[in-house]
């Protein structure tokens, strides 16, 4: 039997894509990136070239059939790519191919040798390892002899392979084919499909690897994000249940609460769910978690879906929790955004990006129930599972709050249902009205792997914070 060797790959420099493709694009072969207008093909191609230069020292040639060199520079500048600088350093060549139908007359036989020579010249002049052809199908619109163009494009792809460059060829999505001119027939090694969909007024970009010959790859649709740092794809479903389980105990930030657990606190890297109806002090308990984490000098990331950072700080101040110095010392980072700002996938992507950026030890999501406003229960559950898995993998302590609508039917709430079985610790807060006064209670529904108080604990909220009543 022949010895199995995995063939060499070219890292794309696109966050997440290298993981899905297990190393990047096939080295020295053409890759087809297709999708409808505005789905991010050109940006992906540009990022492949720019990162190739800046991170892997592989010069690149960008042959543009649609945008002039100046337009292209301007368009990708918003992603922080400085094409002009790379051009000056002789690391990048941008060649704009202008095809004007009205200027062209066909007067006999011809071929695309001019394109070959130009490309060859551009590649050799800077020793390019990467090439982008964006969008080569434009040639088809300029002329009548389509059979010639087809055979020439087939020849071009063969030539690129011989030349040993890794080429990204973009193509516009056709009605029943991946690309209008059926380029997928010629590119047999790797085909990537980009998609831009609007569902319930929320737009999501997705990526799928249609084929990748000779390599295993993720087959799902992966959401991706275009922001000021370019494209990032999150390979969210590659996670497995093989994370470590630390045995160290950490404080919840509230000593009286720690005492309710046999280990005097909760496990590091665990997930805690806090549920309760409106006004049961969920955010307050969550803030204690944040404070406790910061007290250990560990970075804390607080996702607030309902309150602005200022509002949260002010409200906590009124009960004696001062978050301001924690924010100032950069231990606490509050990220506030409306759930309806973007789709669930995008929220997850933003969260993942922030996790990578801030590297927190504790993450708080307050509240997860508001995510239901932008997705159905199934989607929210899927998203939360992925988020919790990601946090577990990184041994990040997580706290989720969730609003329940009335004390009795907590199990019917979609988000609680979604998370409760996954959470390691579940704290339920209630707020009963008895003889004209409020009767606040805390109850530990479960705490995996440790003993815990099994009775309801009464507590009050004072200007000094939460105080448990004597004689519980």
């Amino acid at each position: 039997m022949k010895k199995l060797t995995s063939f060499p790959k070219t890292p794309t420099g696109i966050n997440g894509l290298d993981e899905i493709t297990q190393g990047g694009f096939p080295k020295g072969r053409p890759v087809l990136v297709c999708g409808s207008a505005g789905c991010g093909k050109t940006l992906m191609a540009a990022q492949f070239l720019v990162k190739g230069i800046t991170e892997y020292d592989e010069p690149g040639v960008f042959m543009s059939f649609e945008e002039t060199a100046a337009d292209l520079s301007q368009n990708v500048a918003s992603l922080g790519f400085d094409l002009e600088k790379l051009k000056k350093e002789n690391k990048l060549r941008v060649d704009f191919v202008r095809i004007e139908r009205s200027e062209i007359e066909e007067t006999g036989e011809y071929d695309l040798e001019g394109l070959f020579i130009r490309l060859n010249h551009a590649i050799d002049s800077i020793g390019a390892k990467r090439v982008v052809l964006d969008t080569i199908e434009s040639i088809f619109s300029g002329i009548d002899n389509l059979a010639m163009v087809r055979s020439e494009i087939r020849r071009l792809f063969g030539w690129l392979k011989e030349k040993g460059v890794t080429a990204v060829i973009t193509g516009e999505r056709g009605e029943s084919t991946l690309t209008r001119q059926g380029l997928e027939e010629y590119v047999s090694d790797c085909v990537i499909l980009l998609d831009f969909r609007v569902i319930d007024q929320i737009a999501t970009r997705r990526l799928r690897i249609v084929k990748y010959r000779g390599s295993t790859h993720g087959t799902n649709e992966y959401p991706f994000l275009i922001d000021e740092e370019g494209i990032s794809v999150i390979p969210i479903t590659s996670l497995q249940l093989d994370y470590k389980s630390p045995t160290e105990f950490i404080s919840t930030g509230l000593p009286a609460l720690d005492n309710l657990f046999s280990g005097k606190g909760i496990y590091r890297g665990g997930s805690t769910l806090i549920t309760g109806t409106a006004g049961t002090a969920k955010t307050i308990i969550a803030s204690y978690f944040a404070k406790g984490s910061c007290a250990r000098k560990e970075k804390t990331l607080y996702f607030s879906f309902e309150e602005s950072p200022e509002q949260l700080v002010r409200n906590m101040e009124s009960i004696g929790i001062d978050l301001r110095p924690l924010i100032k010392s950069k231990l606490l980072h509050i990220h506030a955004s409306r759930p309806s700002l973007q789709g669930l996938e995008m929220h997850l992507l933003v969260m993942n990006k922030l996790l990578a950026e801030i590297k927190p030890k504790t993450v708080i999501v307050d509240p997860i129930s508001s995510l239901v406003t932008i997705g159905n229960a199934f989607e929210v559950r899927a998203m939360l599972v992925r988020l919790m898995d990601t946090l577990k993998m990184r041994e990040i302590n997580s706290t989720f709050t969730s609003l329940t609508h009335n004390g009795d039917s907590q199990f019917t709430d979609a988000t609680v249902d979604a998370v409760s079985s996954l959470a390691d610790t579940w704290i339920r807060l209630t707020n009963d009205q008895k003889q004209g006064t409020r009767d606040r209670k805390l109850y530990i529904v479960k705490s995996r792997g440790m003993g815990h108080a099994n009775s309801e604990q009464n507590f009050n909220i004072t200007t000094r914070g939460i105080e448990f009543s004597e004689g519980n």
């Binding site: 095809i99 007359e105 006999g108 011809y110 040798e113 001019g114 020579i117 130009r118």
Partner: protein, 105 residues
């Protein structure tokens, strides 16, 4: 417009032409033969023709956005035209170049 007295040629303004070819390929040679014949028969001295080998001057091909070989570019008079192919369709070439021929002669 002034009526030309010498049918079959133009002499209003000199044509400015560039023919891009790729080395000595059969198509290149045929295009060179054809343009030389058309110029000699119909243009007398009313043209400037430059023949450029893309292999030798790829920058020029880039500058003028040439991808098809052979390509004949009419730079002047305007409008600019790009005639791609071996230029064997004589009538079409002349029409594109704006050469009037008096067919009655």
């Amino acid at each position: 417009m002034k009526k030309e007295t010498n049918p079959g040629t133009i002499n209003k303004e000199k044509l400015s032409l560039q023919l891009y070819v790729s080395g000595m390929s059969p198509k290149s040679l045929e295009a060179i033969r054809n343009i030389n014949r058309i110029c000699a028969e119909h243009l007398k001295d009313a043209y400037d023709l430059e023949i450029i080998d893309i292999y030798k001057q790829p920058e020029l091909a880039t500058e003028h956005s040439v991808i098809f070989s052979p390509s004949l570019i009419k730079h002047y008079p305007l409008p600019k035209k790009i005639l791609i192919g071996t230029l064997k369709d004589c009538d079409k070439v002349m029409m594109a170049l704006g050469i009037d021929i008096d067919k009655t002669k």
